[in-house]
């Protein structure tokens, strides 16, 4: 009969423990290190939806109900060659008469955590007095449409689009803010771009944002619902 000596027994126990733990581990969800895509500073053109989350609901959207988002479903027919996710935001006005959404990194980050670092280039064009570094990105492009037809004055939905600008007094903030105000977001896709060149910044929390509002004293119970379609939001 095979006798198991104490040392062999201990080794067997260790082996069994390792096997058991390995089995448990193998049946687990796996390491996030195996799932991560891009690491390190953002260094090439990207779709905002890859690295930022539309998690920062503001105004009437801060509470569940008035502002709903459909992501990659119920979108308007996508523009040719569109990159990233497509969005449909439906805004039923409530008490504040304004609403908006920030694309944040990480999700829901209003400045308590650091944003994405951006690859830098040396400012060799004399943009910065005394020289320095600038992000390699110069433009944020996107396509927008709405449910409003263009009126006689050429106006439709008025929307302010923003890049950066998260500064809630927390440890981290965006050191920059670019915006574009437009009043002609209509039923047809229209491409817009925001120039983000010429200003030095190294990180970004708010990769994109939109804000819209109703005129003061609008009765929210009778005001029309606004639908905003967004697609192909890209940093270049």
């Amino acid at each position: 009969m095979l006798r198991t000596t104490p040392s062999r027994r201990a080794a067997s126990l260790r082996l069994a423990s390792v096997a058991f733990v390995s089995l448990l581990d193998a049946c687990g969800p796996g390491s996030p290190l195996d799932r991560v895509g891009h690491t390190g500073p953002l260094d090439t053109s990207f779709a905002v939806s890859t690295f930022f989350s539309p998690s920062g609901y503001m105004g009437d959207g801060a509470v569940p109900g008035p502002l709903t988002a459909d992501i990659n479903e119920n979108c308007k027919e996508r523009p040719p060659g569109a990159r990233g996710d497509c969005y449909r935001f439906t805004y039923v006005p409530s008490t504040m008469l304004w609403s908006g959404v920030y694309w944040q990194y990480p999700s829901n980050n209003w400045g308590t955590q650091a944003g994405w670092p951006l690859a830098q280039r040396v400012d060799d064009g004399g943009t910065l007095p005394g020289g320095g570094n600038l992000p390699i990105f110069t433009t944020v492009k996107f396509q927008a449409a709405s449910n409003l037809e263009v009126d006689a004055l050429g106006s439709a939905l008025q929307v302010q689009f923003i890049v950066g600008g998260i500064n809630g007094g927390f440890m981290y903030s965006d050191e920059f803010k670019f915006s574009k105000f437009t009043t002609d977001v209509s039923t047809e896709w229209h491409q817009y771009s925001i120039d983000i060149s010429g200003v030095p910044f190294k990180t970004v929390i708010g990769g994109f944002c939109w804000v819209t509002n109703y005129p003061m004293f609008t009765d929210p119970t009778t005001a029309p619902v606004h639908v905003l379609y967004l697609d192909d939001i890209v940093w270049e």
Binding site: L24, G28, T39, F51, F170
Partner: protein
């Protein structure tokens, strides 16, 4: 004592008539039980083994008629079952072979598979085979006019054991395996419906998740960099809540002796105002934004105990369910999730002499779809639960300090286990671990006692993809551990084990069990937030009865009240729960 009384009646009613000439004298099968009890009562396992050795050398005398040999083999088989010999079944088979017309030996043979063997559940298919054979032989004896008074007791015991064998199945919808069973029921399929309705207003959910850990996780998340970064005392206080919860579990089970049991499952859960809608809470206010959680499950399952002796008994239980869930996504209380749930619960069990070792495993995968939108690497959602439990059951008799005789118990179970629950939110994983150990002492008479210690942890790990070479890190703000001490005292007002036959019936219903349960627990903070340390105590009633007038359906009613005091935040909770079960599964 009741068993002894039954035995006395059965033996007294035995008439020593003439058996068929080839079998020898007619012997009451309770003679076997009586001899076994005489050889095992107040004896240690080694003394029983000595008795067994004597009876095996030789098992019978030369020239003894088959009916005597059958009885002797039966005693050996019962003793072998008691001391855990893996070849006990061969001796039951030999007893049946020697006296093939006696239904009592089929009763004991069936009892071996329903009472001794199995992994947390009886080896149902083998047990029912022998019980139905007993019924068949009883019918034959009636036809031949050799049905004795003690055979009426055998018949009653067989029917009671079949009732218990099928008690989890619920209401029989087909007649073949319904009470009172007939010999033809063995190969026929059974179709039964089970329904369990539970209502509670409790800090603890139906899955017995640790509430101190759950509340601490919520408060830690609120106070983390991911959310509001601060939490007020009032918010800490208000996180303790006991939502109204409703659950109905429906199951249709198809059972067939060769195939096992197939289940079709539906479950509906509703928890009113149970989920925190936004972990930013309400700035400047103590009110919690809460929403309902609604979960529907539909699917199928299979279970069976496979006797693989001399190795072990293997219980296999698995299910696949489709889940529809609403109310668990933060900020989106109306967001519906649809995903698959896979569950595997294997158990192994084998005797080590008279003791029994069991190993249970659980693997649950909630295979959720990735969320739409959000950062690409953060979209993955998944939950994996893995658990293992080792139990060592002492079935040997003990001499207790307060008694001078060796006393048999219904088992002294020592166990230890671990559970890991990983919830994946993209590159972030929220893990909960339980490590527990304890014992459950089931006394011979009215008292059961459970004492358990559980060390519970939770932690959040994540990687930061903004660095070139990320490593997995732990968020110290969300690291938590507590220690739970649980004591459960159970008093058996009506002890089902004391009634081997059928209890008296009133209007077609037979009360089978009444237990009073007193659960007490204490949660002590070990690491991290200690706000939710608490002490809890209560009382529960468990009442089981059989509807013999409606096919033998088993009903289990439970009702209880608990009081919980969170002494660090000075908050008291009064809670109640009630459940009505027609058939059931794991309780």
């Amino acid at each position: 004592m009741a068993v002894v009384a039954w035995l006395a009646v059965a033996l007294a009613s035995g008439t020593a008539g003439a058996a068929p000439p080839s079998l020898g004298p007619e012997i009451n099968p309770y003679e076997c039980l009586g001899r076994y009890e005489a050889a095992s009562r107040a004896r240690s396992i080694s003394q029983m083994q000595a008795e067994l050795a004597k009876r095996l050398d030789p098992p019978y005398e030369e020239g003894e008629p088959p009916s005597v040999r059958a009885m002797k083999f039966c005693v050996i088989a019962l003793l072998k079952s008691r001391v855990g010999d893996s070849d006990a079944a061969e001796y039951y088979a030999r007893a049946v072979q020697e006296n093939p017309i006696e239904p009592g030996y089929e009763l004991w043979y069936g009892g071996y598979y329903s009472g001794f063997r199995g992994a947390h559940r009886p080896v149902l298919e083998l047990a029912e085979k022998h019980y139905y054979r007993a019924l068949e032989k009883l019918d034959a004896l009636k036809k031949e006019g050799t049905f004795r008074d003690y055979h009426a007791v055998v018949e009653e015991w067989v029917r009671k054991r079949l009732l218990i064998l099928y008690q989890e199945d619920g209401q029989p919808l087909l007649p073949w395996k319904a009470y009172p069973q007939h010999p033809s029921g063995l190969d026929a399929p059974s179709l039964s419906a089970s329904s369990q309705l539970s209502v509670s207003e409790d800090t603890r959910d139906f899955y017995y998740h640790d509430e101190m850990r759950a509340f601490s996780q919520e408060a830690n998340f609120v106070a983390s960099d991911l959310r509001a970064r601060a939490i007020t005392d009032l918010q800490v206080y208000n996180i303790v809540r006991a939502p109204m919860r409703y659950r109905i579990q429906n199951r249709v089970r198809v059972r067939q002796n060769y195939l096992g049991a197939f289940d079709f499952i539906h479950e509906y859960n509703l928890a009113k105002r149970a989920m925190i809608t936004s972990f930013y809470l309400n700035p400047g206010s103590g009110d919690l934004p809460l929403n309902d959680v609604k979960v529907q499950q539909i699917g199928g399952g299979y279970n069976r105990v496979l006797p693989l002796y001399p190795l072990f008994d293997l219980r296999f239980e698995g299910s696949f369910q489709r889940i529809n869930r609403r109310g668990t996504v933060e900020f989106l209380p109306n967001r519906e999730e649809n995903f698959n749930l896979f569950e595997l619960k294997p158990s192994l069990s084998r005797f080590l002499a008279s003791d029994k070792l069991s190993l249970d495993g659980v693997y649950v995968l909630l295979d959720m779809a990735d969320v739409a939108g959000g950062i690409t690497d953060d979209r993955m959602r998944k939950e994996v639960i893995r658990a293992a439990r080792l139990e060592y059951a002492l079935y040997r008799p003990f001499v207790f300090p307060f008694e001078n005789v060796r006393t048999a118990t219904r088992g002294w179970y020592f166990y230890a286990g671990a559970m890991q629950d990983d919830k994946v939110y993209g590159l972030r994983t929220v893990s909960a671990q339980d490590f527990y150990g304890g014992f459950r002492f089931e006394g011979a008479n009215v008292l059961d006692l459970t004492l358990q210690g559980t060390y519970l942890t939770s932690r959040t790990t994540f990687i930061d993809p903004t660095v070139v070479r990320p490593i997995e890190m732990t968020d110290p703000a969300q690291t938590f551990a507590n220690f739970r001490t649980t004591a459960v005292v159970q008093l058996r007002v009506i002890n089902p084990d004391a009634l081997p036959g059928l209890p008296p019936s009133t209007l077609g219903f037979m009360p089978d069990m009444i237990n009073v349960v007193i659960p007490i627990s204490h949660d002590l903070g070990v690491t991290g937030r200690k706000d939710y340390e608490n002490i809890r105590g209560g009382v529960e009633m468990w009442f089981k009865f059989f509807g013999t007038g409606i096919g033998g359906t088993a009903f289990l009613m439970t009702a209880g009240y608990d009081y919980q005091f969170f002494y660090r935040i000075t908050k008291s909770m009064h809670m109640a729960h009630v459940a009505l079960r027609m058939g059931w599964g794991d309780l």
